[in-house]
């Protein structure tokens, strides 16, 4: 029949290349987090060193990979990712989480002020300490930041599961990204809520980061509380089916 085929042809030409076609999902569940890029799009390679390697030194796989990339479509690099040597994905993620109302300038300045505050406090401690202690004092704000967030990550988490009309908090292993997210979320929430009125965010954040680095302080306590709850609800572990 001519009419239906014409309709289908029009439908095909109307679709732009790479736009994700409506994928059939389970009824009642809508996809909320999705990207406009189709699955054929590759992530951009931002690393400068990758491009600086002279062509003679590449192995067979790498040459093949480069030839392949010439034919593939690549997503646009986000404005926040730079090829700067000083870039740190953890710091960028933390800055984005601190951001309110899209004010990235403010969030970034708060982050840099926090790192500066951490550095200055550690330098003060360093100068006041004796020679043996000086070797143990860490002055790099980036290592302190990473270690503090690592110390705040919970190992096991709780998930509300509906069974027999009631929600039960069931202990569940967490994925790496969920743990990192929880650590950052708790840190930011702690600094926003429990701050003295006239204290500024960088000062409070630097305080909390240093305490978490030494495995003490309210964020670590919250992680331990989460672990204790999980331990207490151990019996409900059977409710988990995955």
């Amino acid at each position: 029949m001519a009419a239906p085929t014409v309709k289908v042809a029009r439908g095909w030409s109307g679709l732009a290349l790479g736009v994700r076609r409506a994928v059939l999902r389970l009824p009642g569940l809508t996809q909320v987090r999705w990207s406009r890029y189709g699955p054929e799009y590759q992530d951009p390679q931002i690393d400068k060193e990758y491009y600086r390697k002279p062509l003679a030194q590449l192995t067979e796989e790498e040459t093949y990979e480069r030839e392949l990339r010439k034919t593939q479509v690549i997503k646009a690099a986000p404005a926040t990712k730079t090829s700067s040597v000083f870039e740190d994905p953890v710091i960028s993620k933390f800055t984005n989480m601190m951001m309110k109302g899209g004010n990235k300038v403010l969030a970034r300045s708060l982050m840099t002020q926090t790192l500066e505050a951490v550095k200055r406090k550690q330098f003060e401690k360093y100068h006041a300490a004796s020679a043996e202690e000086q070797a143990t004092i860490e002055r790099n704000p980036y290592t302190i930041f990473h270690q503090a967030l690592k110390n705040c990550e919970p190992v096991i988490g709780l998930v509300p599961i509906l069974k027999g009309g009631h929600f039960y908090q069931v202990p569940v292993p967490l994925a790496d990204r969920r743990r990192r997210f929880l650590a950052m979320k708790w840190m930011i929430a702690e600094c926003r809520e429990k701050k003295p009125r006239r204290m500024l965010m960088p000062e409070k954040l630097s305080q909390e980061l240093l305490e978490a680095f030494h495995s003490r302080g309210p964020v670590i306590k919250r992680k331990h509380d989460m672990h204790k709850m999980a331990e207490a609800n151990r019996a409900l572990a059977h409710y988990r089916w995955w």
């Binding site: 700067s84 040597v85 000083f86 840099t112 002020q113 790192l115 500066e116 550095k119 200055r120 330098f123 003060e124 100068h127 020679a131 000086q134 002055r139 790099n140 704000p141 980036y142």
Partner: protein
């Protein structure tokens, strides 16, 4: 002898070891040397450009009682040492000051940003270098750290006791007098006042009494502090021509004297700068009708009121009135670091372990810092603070 090997020792050790290096290998070191042991500004020359020299903590208290610019003060506190870089504009100024003829009227030098007029090029710290030199040479230093602070955010304005049209600023005046006393203790007893000043029914300062009494009176009775400042300025101007002492007038942000103020009277009408007694007396000080010293000034847009952000030329910032009063002056342009100074600055930060990021030690990191800061001293300092 690798300079890098000495990085792990304490902050006291590098001084003597750098002396060792300086004597043995002056030209052949692979990395730039960032320090010099020549701590006397009088002996600084072309060969010291790009190197840092240190000021001891006691000298800091006597030479800069008003305080240093806030970021530099933080750096001094963190590193436990005050190191200034020797740069060409300051050397030029020092050369002129060394060759001043004290019989001629005081010459005015104005430090301003070169070329595109960026902020953070180092005008205030060059001024501090010059002040340190003059203090070492035993001049009397009249330092106003920031004239903009006198025309804005003043809580208590009193009607002046001396002249009903003008206004007093007791807080600012008394703070300035306290710091002036700390800086110039030894001169205050030598200089004698040449007029009798009556403060109120019970107190007066007789002719021939030392200037210290006027300063004390200003600090004790805060209401008379502004008048005390006026008297100090008048006496110093009169007596510097006689040759007992040499006077350096150093004002940072001199464009505040001829701009506008944000201070209001009780009936909410704006006050012009000449109606403030402190500003009125300071304007008289900055005129070149006295001998026996020099006037070093800075024009800056940061902190100025009602001036566009891009304004950097003395003509724009001072306005017609100010420019006519200050004309003729010697302009000294302060620009960004040249490559040697930039290397010296980075080396200084590396020696103090201030650059903690692993990548900052590499060539890539340095190139990136150069690109991000465009060799601007202020920007570089802020960048290195969080790296």
């Amino acid at each position: 002898l690798d300079p890098g090997r000495f990085l792990h020792l304490g902050t006291q050790a590098p001084q003597c070891l750098v002396a060792h290096l300086n004597n043995q290998v002056p030209n052949e070191s692979p990395r730039a040397i960032s320090r010099t042991l020549e701590n006397d500004p009088a002996k600084h020359g072309e060969q010291h450009v790009g190197r840092h020299y240190s000021i001891s903590v006691q000298e800091l208290k006597t030479v800069f009682p008003h305080g240093l610019p806030p970021r530099f003060a933080m750096q001094v506190k963190t590193f436990n040492e005050a190191c200034l870089m020797v740069r060409k504009p300051a050397l030029e100024l020092l050369h002129y000051l060394k060759n001043t003829n004290f019989a001629h009227p005081a010459v005015r030098y104005v430090l301003s940003s070169a070329l595109d007029g960026e902020k953070g090029t180092g005008k205030t710290l060059s001024l501090c270098h010059v002040i340190h030199f003059c203090a070492k040479q035993d001049w009397l230093i009249l330092h106003i750290p920031d004239a903009h602070l006198w025309v804005k955010n003043c809580r208590d304005l009193l009607q002046s006791t001396y002249n009903k049209q003008r206004f007093d600023q007791p807080l600012e005046a008394s703070i300035w007098l306290k710091n002036f006393k700390t800086a110039n203790e030894r001169f205050l007893s030598q200089i004698k006042v040449q007029d009798t000043y009556v403060w109120n029914k019970r107190e007066s300062t007789e002719k021939g009494s030392p200037l210290a009494e006027v300063v004390e009176q200003g600090i004790m009775r805060v209401r008379n502090a502004t008048d005390a400042v006026g008297i100090v300025l008048k006496e110093l101007k009169r007596q510097s021509s006689q040759g007992i002492f040499r006077l350096l007038v150093a004002v940072d942000g001199v464009n505040a004297l001829w701009g506008r103020t944000t201070l209001k009277r009780e009936d909410k009408s704006l006050i012009a700068p000449e109606e403030l007694a402190l500003i009125y007396n300071l304007r008289k000080m900055v005129k070149n009708d006295w001998q026996g010293g020099a006037i070093v000034l800075t024009v800056s847009q940061t902190g100025s009121l009602f001036k566009p952000r891009k304004a950097y030329l003395p003509q724009e910032l001072l306005g017609k009135e100010g420019f006519d009063t200050l004309d003729p002056f010697i302009p000294i342009l302060v620009s960004n670091y040249n490559p040697k100074e930039f290397e010296g600055c980075i080396q200084y930060y590396l020696e103090n372990n201030w650059l903690q990021h692993e990548k900052a030690h590499t060539e890539e990191g340095k190139k990136e810092l150069l690109f991000l800061s465009n060799r601007n001293p202020g920007l570089l300092e802020r960048l290195c603070a969080y790296l």
